[in-house]
Symmetry: C2
């Protein structure tokens, strides 16, 4: 069959077949207006026979809504985002919206893509540093319900983030308990507000513990190779740090690889910790901070729904709690902290 002649059955054909107007067919299909029992039966019969499905486009155009929403994220390669999206999709679909996704990573013109996306949805969730504040504001200015995930608030937009301060503090306290004194931080605070927050809290906690924090973070991207490379540099430079605090688990996994490659034992020669608790972290024995990723996505979907329904009118902020997960990469413990 030639793609050119994709023929969908339209409401007109159904109407003609039954001998009624398209209005009546529409009423039957939508289940809205009143239709005589017998007429309804005949329409349904024809719908069945012709396999009629109303065109979403016609429907949306007439209704003035897409019945869809979108989510913008940096990348899907990490396990982190996948979980968030899943949480989002799950709820959104249950609420009757289709979900459009957009990964900005590596795109030449993310702003434009986001603007495009905005033309096909009723609301959107935007994660992290994917697009410029200007574009977000521009989208929001059209009245598009928008919620921000793991990104600093912009204007009056709803924002959901995860907790960073307390967990960083707790993490550092734990590390200090191991007796470590020389810390390095791997990750680029410019990359995301989460990293910024983690880094700041990390420094503050060190100061609070009477330790002089490192002068600057070792900037590196959010992936395993970048982490490995940065860790290599950090570990080669004397005095060797006793702990590598990594901006996320992927960086930490890279650091683990670097240590192994350099013949250093973790945690005996160097301790390594991360953030997110991705699946691999567990098998790598990585001490990290667990994020409620599914819930992050689900919250976004729920709020969007409420916005679209018009039931809420001022900006909401929520910070989801995180949890320190102690494994083996931060030092030897008398007792195992994590079961399984």
């Amino acid at each position: 069959m030639n793609p050119q002649d994709r023929q969908h059955v339209t409401i007109y054909e159904v109407a003609q077949r039954v001998g009624v107007s398209i209005a009546t067919v529409s009423r039957v299909v939508r289940g809205h207006g009143e239709v005589a029992r017998e007429t309804r039966r005949r329409v349904l019969e024809a719908v069945e026979e012709l396999q009629f499905r109303p065109s979403r486009l016609g429907q949306s155009l007439a209704e003035g809504r897409h019945a869809a929403n979108g989510i913008v994220f940096p990348d899907l390669s990490g396990p982190y985002y996948a979980e968030v999206i899943l949480g989002y999709e799950e709820l959104a679909a249950d609420l009757g919206s289709s979900v459009l996704i957009l990964a900005t990573h590596g795109r030449t013109d993310p702003d434009r893509k986001v603007l495009d996306l905005a033309r096909r949805v009723d609301g959107m969730a935007i994660m992290g540093r994917t697009v410029s504040d200007g574009v977000v504001a521009q989208v929001a200015a059209t009245g598009m319900p928008t919620v921000l995930l793991g990104r600093p608030p912009i204007g009056e937009l709803d924002t959901v983030t995860t907790e960073n301060d307390a967990s960083a503090r707790e993490m550092v306290t734990h590390l200090l308990g191991h007796g470590y004194r020389r810390f390095a931080y791997l990750g680029d605070p410019a990359e995301s507000s989460d990293v910024t927050a983690r880094y700041d809290a990390f420094r503050a906690a060190l100061v609070g513990g009477g330790i002089r924090p490192p002068r600057a973070p070792l900037r590196c991207a959010f992936d395993v190779p970048a982490g490995q490379e940065a860790a290599q540099r950090a570990l080669a430079r004397p005095p060797r740090p006793q702990v590598l605090v990594c901006a996320n688990d992927e960086v930490a996994l890279g650091a683990l690889a670097a240590a192994q490659q350099m013949g250093l034992s973790v945690p005996d020669d160097v301790a390594i910790v991360g953030w997110d608790d991705v699946m691999a972290a567990r098998y790598a024995g990585l001490t990290t901070v667990r994020q409620p990723m599914r819930e992050l996505g689900a919250t976004a979907a729920r709020w969007l729904q409420e916005r679209m329904a018009g039931s809420r009118f001022h900006a909401r902020r929520e910070v989801l709690q995180t949890q320190l997960v102690i494994r083996t990469s931060c030092g030897r413990h008398s007792v195992d902290r994590e079961d399984s």
Copy 2:
């Protein structure tokens, strides 16, 4: 701002502002017909001032296409699917299509959701055992370009899968080389055609090696807890198998946990292997089979594009090659097989 009064600027307002017809505005915006330089300038100016973006709905309705395609997958929780989707999205977006996603896992009525999805896209990719053959056929029958991923072919539809036979054979050969004789298989062949293929090839290879294969697989779902539970049963039942061949890495990771919990050493007491080479596999030292996931998704997107362009007309089949990755979970080796 009340969601009710979301006002988009329409082409009419632009036309009125400039004092031309909407046809002219459309020409300028699309860059198709001929428009006088001066007129073009004034239109663009107005477009800029009013922040006009054509409605995708109006556009799509007039053009007769959505400029979007969809992908249906069982679940996003595993790392496997996320990668496939990313490969798909990346290419599709570059080709100018938006991407709609649909996770069928846990949905009460996946078939209906897929039919819904079909009303909003120009083409779709369907992964694994997500929906019934009937529904796929029904969608395809409307002329919707469709490609199947990791799923047995249906009718004349394009199908991309990954290689299972050779890798299973190679895996078993390697295991036999270790001297193992008692094998168990964890996974449910009914779950996916990949599992079926792997299981069949596994049995055949054992027979080829002069070993009597297990009577039946230990059926379990595709996730870590299920794998753990099934492995526990398998390892508790004498004679204890020397090898647990797992349908995928998540099951294998569960098996690893079970072994650890039972105080068994891997690989000394029991060898464990999986499939997929998810990120965690590397850190768990799991011997597995690497799948070209990104490429799987990208291939689907490319084929869809070709179908939609009408440039291809008969069913395509492709089997992407996989690669055995030897790590430590299958037994002690004199030399490390994997760098890093």
